[in-house]
């Protein structure tokens, strides 16, 4: 499955774009997406952390993605 991932903050700089497409071979879990993103963009491993959001909610590692989901990478937040 192909997943389009929206990017913000430093993730946008790392992708060089405001979104990127990632291909997932096996089960399309949030954990699989995280691993695929880190493989495609090794600089993500240097971040303090990052979360994945699915349909505007922080997603757990085991959540399974569907083609309709809006997926985003959330690097460490720093509002306020």
């Amino acid at each position: 499955m192909k997943v389009n991932v929206l990017a913000f903050g430093i993730a946008k700089d790392i992708f060089g774009a405001s979104s990127t497409e990632v291909g997932l071979a096996g089960e399309a879990t949030v954990e699989a997406l995280r691993t695929a993103l880190e493989t495609q963009y090794p600089r993500l491993k240097q971040l303090a952390s990052f979360m994945i959001a699915v349909n505007d909610e922080y997603a757990a590692a085991g959540q399974v993605l569907t083609p309709e989901d809006e997926v985003a990478i959330i690097p460490p937040v720093s509002g306020g």
């Binding site: 929206l6 913000f8 903050g9 971040l47 909610e57 985003a72 959330i74 937040v77 720093s78 509002g79």
Partner: protein, 138 residues
């Protein structure tokens, strides 16, 4: 009552305080975040704020509802700005009105602390010799 806003326009402090004023409330607590001119001794020229808009609004609403469930407070206002902000400008205003001050103080503190942990908003510090996304790296 809850008023949540995410906007590129300058925040209006007195309008925010007016909104939370209520005859049944004896205490209003206000937190105003401002752009500081330095980080660790290094001069900051300006900040740039970026948000994942609809998720940020949703998380801000959640925080306000959590505060309302935890403390006896009547009105909560939470406004955050995005875009380029100069030193001295205001990126965030939180105003909480309650019958008594303890609840207003505690809720206001909870809201700003939680916002900084969970709301998908990012700030970049611009220095004379470069720029840094705050908190991105350990």
């Amino acid at each position: 009552m809850i008023d949540i806003q995410l906007t590129e326009e300058p925040l209006e402090i007195s309008a925010c305080i007016d909104w939370v004023m209520s005859p049944t409330c004896g205490g209003i607590d206000v937190f105003i975040g401002t752009v500081r001119n330095a980080t660790k001794g290094k001069a900051v020229l300006r900040l740039e704020f970026e948000a994942y808009g609809k998720m940020a609004l949703r998380e801000m609403q959640k925080i306000a509802e959590e505060a309302q469930a935890k403390w006896p407070i009547e009105k909560i206002l939470l406004h955050h700005r995005t875009g380029v902000l100069q030193v001295g400008e205001v990126p965030v205003i939180i105003a909480v009105a309650a019958a008594h001050r303890d609840a207003a103080f505690d809720a206001c503190r909870y809201i700003i602390d939680t916002l900084k942990q969970t709301v998908p908003i990012w700030k970049k510090e611009i220095f004379e010799d470069g720029e840094v996304w705050v908190a991105a790296h350990p």
